[in-house]
């Protein structure tokens, strides 16, 4: 079974703090993704990575950066957290090629106060 884990289920940070969200997958997937999910707005793609050290912006990259130094690990960084970044963050991974589903981690609920 594919397993995607995220470093924290719940996180509370203060405005202006630098925040790291970590995601690890154990199935050697090429592709990894970060989404945020807010009520009424569905899933929005922040960044994704299709290989080590490679990244592409998603729909809402502003205020975020990412890092992928190893294939199994994809980090989302909030350089200076703001209250409008309070959200549920979901990581996902997917095998490269066509026709493969994404597997999601359990999510991190981040609150910025």
């Amino acid at each position: 079974d594919v397993k995607v884990t995220q470093s924290s289920r719940y996180l509370v940070k203060r405005t202006g703090e630098k925040v790291f969200l970590e995601c690890v997958q154990d199935m050697d997937h090429e592709n990894m993704f970060w989404y945020r999910q807010d009520p009424g707005l569905g899933l929005r793609l922040i960044y994704f990575s299709y290989d080590v050290k490679m990244k592409e912006k998603g729909d809402i990259p502003e205020g975020y950066s990412v890092s992928r130094e190893k294939k199994e690990r994809f980090s989302l960084i909030l350089e200076s957290a703001s209250t409008n970044q309070t959200s549920m963050y979901l990581c996902a991974s997917r095998q490269g090629g066509a026709g493969y589903e994404q597997y999601f981690g359990p999510g991190t609920r981040l609150t910025v106060t």
Partner: protein, 111 residues
């Protein structure tokens, strides 16, 4: 740009009834995925549909894909309370490795 629309967005139904959730998408694709999300939880894969006419069934849920109409349906038969959840469809973006998700359909099944 690929757009994916689900319909309805909210659905309240009684146990024992049948209903269908629709997923329309705007550009050619022959790969579509259905996910389920329980409140406060992450997304769980339900079905992978990889060709025109594909049909998959699991228990009371059946999903189908019509690539010519750019439409997928998720049919619920004789609904039970345990099926209450939010259901998302997602479509492959051609030439990319990412999916585009619909807005989700929040399904509530009342006893």
């Amino acid at each position: 740009e690929l757009k994916v629309e689900q319909n309805p967005l909210f659905l309240s139904m009684q146990e024992g009834k049948n209903y269908t959730i629709y997923c329309n998408y705007s550009t050619t694709s022959d790969r579509l995925y259905w996910y389920r999300q329980d409140p406060g939880k992450s997304l769980e894969s339900l079905f992978v549909l990889l060709s025109n006419g594909a049909v998959k069934q699991e228990g009371r849920l059946m999903a189908s894909l019509d690539t010519k109409a750019r439409l997928s349906t998720l049919h619920i038969t004789a609904a039970v309370h345990d099926l209450s959840a939010t259901y998302f469809c997602a479509v492959d973006v051609k030439g990319a490795q990412k999916l585009v998700f619909g807005q989700g359909t929040r399904l509530t099944i009342n006893p």
